[in-house]
């Protein structure tokens, strides 16, 4: 590259003013408007900081619990508060720390690692961050009012049902966490489209950094796993608020349905947080050993294999619930099978250390600590995957030890390694090596002192979630040692915070730079605009294999050395081969994502207090802000632009190459997963309680009317599509709207005589109808939005992305509603 036969895309030297223009466009807003910042560098750091704050807060809750358990019969914390403490500790660590922390690292690192200027939906990242941060803080404050959830982080009914938990504590969990999941899904959509479509030319899938692979698998897992817990929270909230008996055994419901839905999310969740951490380790180890990752392709394979196999493990959290043994055996086998790809990664890291020349700096120390802790956690994991052993240690401190070895070894230690490793990327100074080895020492020793004895405490029979215990059971010394270890671990974290306060000075342009001599693109010289020009990549470690790359990129010798559209822009490439396709104009900062996020948070949290009307007003404001936000998107098409190397690319794209189309496809996958969970719930409840299913099937005539109207509405949308192609006329959507409204009404009429409150059958049928209604209303809003844009002259045969979004979502909604209708109508006929 760069020789006479194959010159660099942009001639040097670059004209004066180009770089200044880039800097001006990418500067964050000044003054109080700074909070509207959307650039991934700033949002990423804020996101990581917020996640770390929740880690510290949840850690303090853990210290309170350890202080309570230090001696038998302690009365520092009473049982009611203790219940809230362990519930909040688990919930916050999983939902407010672990998932957001790794998602935040993705938002911070991916654009630079992929040579992109930013992720494709920067405002969506900002929205996800603000919704999570505001919602998380309010959620945490519930502790100060005695209103924090107290049913365990998994919130099992019937303990958490209205009858046994009449106060609003559980609602805080259901609504508070429910919408933080929406924030995680928003981030996942951003990451999938970003990883697949904004890579630099030459970065094929095989050359993609392992961290990007890990984040891709992570985001896809969120797409399929998170809808399960959203479905579960929806059903439990419906049961609590309106008495629809999904989990009430007396009316044909089943508490185990909650456990299935929860763990269908909850087990993949473990890998959802482990895989990105493993991806980070796979970036750190080669830099520390100064040699490419051993078996890189096998590691990528292992990441994907873990991604799908982890969906077959959920029942191993339910071994003690009385499920047939043969069913348990499938999950037992899957639990052991997933150890194979996990092992591949561990061996790859060890082999990389072995073949390279290791710099034993703090990131390497944390990786070595992680290897020890995570492997031990993995071994006890294989032990508890054995059903008879699990029955012995179920709900004891052995499991507490196991899960902390897996999660702290698999996620927290890698994250600290990542903090040390990437600090010079985002700050003027690296963190102190001397302090770093103390931080590592305290955390590593403290962790093992705290958690290793718990294996014994558990084998001696101490149950989880007890606020105190009697003396003389052999648990006293072990508990005291654990408490000492926990405070030692906390001292390590406190020392880290001191060092961060001393050393961290955020700066993209003046960062400390490539202090480790790493080989991947995030270490290119960069600014708020990411790298000056977008390189052509020839290997998985371009900075090692293309020695002049950093210098040439900084001089602007590659693609897009300037803004070619007069605004923020980035290169869109093909998903498999990363061939340049078009230039995406990115949005500038604005208030809409913030207002939408704040009012989304307010909507859900006010619902917790049953302040329905105030919540509704907040919901309307949030939707208005979203529409305002959407109105400014889909800018007018313009002439093709020269990005360098003689490549002239369009600056507008609709259809399957557009970023919006991809986001919509991912959203449809999320929707399908959610709807699939509801259909699963229908089948599950029928298996458990066939007696509450109707002896005579529902009448067929109304269902046929529903199906006819749904198909007619899709036909009208197809007709509108033809109109848009021929001149931008989408008025046929006016015809589609009453058809869909009619279908909804007829569907409700068809099931009018089925009460949602009497039996689980009625409840699940109405839950499906409710979701059908939600999708129909959303499709209608998108259609009205497209019509409004047509009237405002913002929709024509070329500029048609908003119409395409509405069209895709509409057809999807029709297909989904038909699937639900088929199940609800045909299944009772089949079995009656």
């Amino acid at each position: 590259m760069g020789n006479a036969s194959n010159p660099l895309p942009s001639p040097l030297p670059r004209p004066a003013g180009e770089l200044e223009e880039l800097k001006r466009l990418w500067n964050p807003p000044r003054g109080f408007r700074f909070i509207t910042v959307i650039n991934n560098n700033y949002i990423g750091v804020a996101y990581v900081g917020a996640a770390f704050l929740f880690f510290v807060l949840a850690g303090i809750l853990a210290l309170l619990m350890r202080a309570q358990l230090a001696v038998p019969g302690n009365d520092l914390v009473g049982p009611a508060l203790y219940n809230q403490l362990f519930t909040m500790h688990g919930t916050m660590m999983m939902f407010l720390f672990a998932v957001p922390a790794v998602e935040a690292m993705g938002i911070l690192l991916l654009p630079n690692m992929l040579g992109a200027r930013d992720l494709p939906f920067p405002r969506l990242s900002a929205y996800a961050f603000w919704a999570y941060f505001v919602g998380g803080l309010v959620f945490f404050s519930s502790l100060f009012f005695g209103l924090a959830p107290d049913g365990g982080w998994f919130l099992y009914p019937p303990l958490t049902s209205e009858a046994y938990s009449p106060a609003i504590n559980q609602d805080f969990w259901l609504l508070g966490i429910g919408f933080i999941e929406i924030s995680a899904i928003a981030g996942a959509i951003e990451i999938i489209v970003g990883v697949l479509r904004t890579r630099p030319p030459g970065m094929t899938l095989a050359r993609m950094p392992v961290f990007a692979w890990a984040m891709l698998v992570f985001a896809l897992m969120i797409v399929f796993a998170f809808p399960a817990v959203i479905a579960a929270t929806l059903l439990l909230e419906l049961e609590r608020a309106f008495g629809w008996p999904f989990f009430a055994a007396g009316q044909g419901g089943d508490p185990l349905l909650w456990q299935h839905l929860f763990w269908f999310f909850g087990h993949p969740e473990v890998y959802i947080i482990f895989l990105p951490a493993a991806g980070m380790v796979s970036m750190i180890v080669p830099a520390m050993a100064q040699t490419p990752l051993a078996g890189q392709r096998l590691v990528i394979l292992a990441l994907i294999a873990i991604g799908f196999l982890s969906f077959g493990l959920w029942v191993h959290h339910m071994f003690a619930t009385g499920i047939p043994r043969v069913s348990l055996s499938f999950f037992e086998a899957a639990s052991m099978a997933v150890a194979i790809p996990s092992g591949i990664q561990v061996f790859a890291w060890i082999a990389t250390f072995a073949k390279g020349k290791v710099q034993l700096k703090t990131p390497a120390l944390f990786v070595l600590g992680m290897l020890f802790i995570f492997v031990l956690g993995g071994l006890t994991g294989v032990m508890v995957a054995v059903v008879p052993f699990d029955w012995q240690v179920h709900d004891t401190y052995f499991v507490v030890a196991h899960l902390h070895y897996v999660l702290i070894g698999g996620m927290v230690f890698p994250l600290f390694a990542a903090f040390y490793y990437w600090m010079p990327y985002t700050s003027r100074n690296a963190l102190s090596e001397r302090v770093g080895s103390w931080v590592f020492g305290l955390m590593f020793v403290g962790f093992n002192v705290a958690f290793f004895p718990m294996h014994a405490t558990g084998l001696l029979g101490m149950p989880r979630r007890v606020h105190t215990y009697l003396p003389g059971l052999g648990w006293d010394v072990l508990n005291l040692v654990s408490t000492v270890g926990a405070f030692m671990l906390a001292a390590g974290v406190a020392l880290f915070i001191v060092d961060v306060a001393r050393k961290f000075r955020m700066s993209a342009e003046g960062n400390a730079g490539n202090v480790w001599g790493a080989g991947t693109l995030e270490w290119l010289p960069n600014g708020n605009y990411s790298s000056r020009s977008i390189p052509i990549v020839e290997s998985a470690y371009p900075l090692w294999d293309q020695p002049k790359l950093a210098e040439q990129v900084e001089a602007g010798a590659y693609y897009l050395p300037r803004s070619v559209t007069g605004t923020r822009d980035t290169l869109m490439t093909s998903a498999v081969d990363a061939k340049p396709q078009w230039v995406l104009r990115l949005p500038m900062p604005g208030w809409a994502p913030l207002v939408a996020a704040w009012f989304t948070a307010a909507f859900f949290l006010l619902l917790t207090f049953k302040l329905v009307w105030v919540a509704a007003v907040c919901g309307v404001v949030a939707i208005a802000a979203l529409l305002h936000w959407g109105w400014g998107l889909d800018p007018p098409p313009g002439a093709r632009v020269d990005i360098g190397g003689g490549l002239e690319l369009p600056i507008y794209m609709s259809g399957p190459q557009s970023q919006a189309w991809w986001a919509m496809v991912v959203l449809m996958l999320v929707s399908a997963a959610l709807y699939g969970c509801l259909l699963f719930s229908y089948m599950y409840l029928w298996i458990v309680s066939p007696q509450v299913w109707p002896a005579t099937p529902p009448a067929a005539a109304p269902a046929l009317v529903v199906a006819g109207l749904l198909l007619a509405s899709s036909g009208a949308v197809a007709w509108a599509d033809r109109g848009v192609r021929r001149g931008g006329d989408c008025r046929a959507l006016w015809l589609a709207l009453p058809c869909l409204a009619g279908a909804l009404a007829a569907n409700l009429w068809a099931h009018w005589d089925v009460s949602p409150k009497e039996t689980a059958y009625g409840a699940i049928v109405h839950a499906i109808l409710l979701i059908d209604g939600f999708f129909a209303v959303t499709a209608a809003v998108l259609a009205l939005f497209a019509l409004a844009r047509r009237m405002a002259g913002r929709l024509d045969p070329v500029r048609r992305v908003t119409f395409d979004n509405a069209r895709l979502f509409w057809h999807y909604t029709v297909a989904q509603t038909l699937a639900g209708l088929a199940l609800v109508q045909l299944f009772p006929r089949l079995v009656s």
Partner: protein, 99 residues
């Protein structure tokens, strides 16, 4: 190669594994709930054989195209899915149904 065909190629092993797993779990739950344990070994056996054959075919197809990363990946993932599928199916055959 289009994105859709690459995605299908890479995920085909995972899809077969997921369908096999869902069949095992669903049929077992139903057979045990309706007191029809005889259905379990037959279903497990037939489903596992069918899935194993499909995965072997996917692996062979991918291996022939291993020069391309997506081909290699699809073969590797099909092998991983095959190991898990056979392991799970075997467990289903040796454990007494519905005990």
């Amino acid at each position: 190669m289009t994105s859709a065909s690459a995605a299908l190629r890479i995920s085909s092993g995972a899809i077969v594994w997921a369908v096999h797993f869902a069949v095992l779990y669903g049929i077992t739950a139903l057979a045990c709930a309706r007191d029809f344990p005889r259905a379990v070994p037959w279903t497990v056996g037939i489903a596992t054989l069918a899935a194993a054959l499909a995965l072997a075919a996917i692996a062979a197809h991918g291996y022939r195209r291993r020069a391309d990363f997506t081909g290699w990946l699809s073969a590797g993932l099909a092998v991983a899915a095959l190991v898990a599928t056979v392991f799970e199916g075997y467990a289903g055959l040796v454990v007494p149904p519905c005990a």
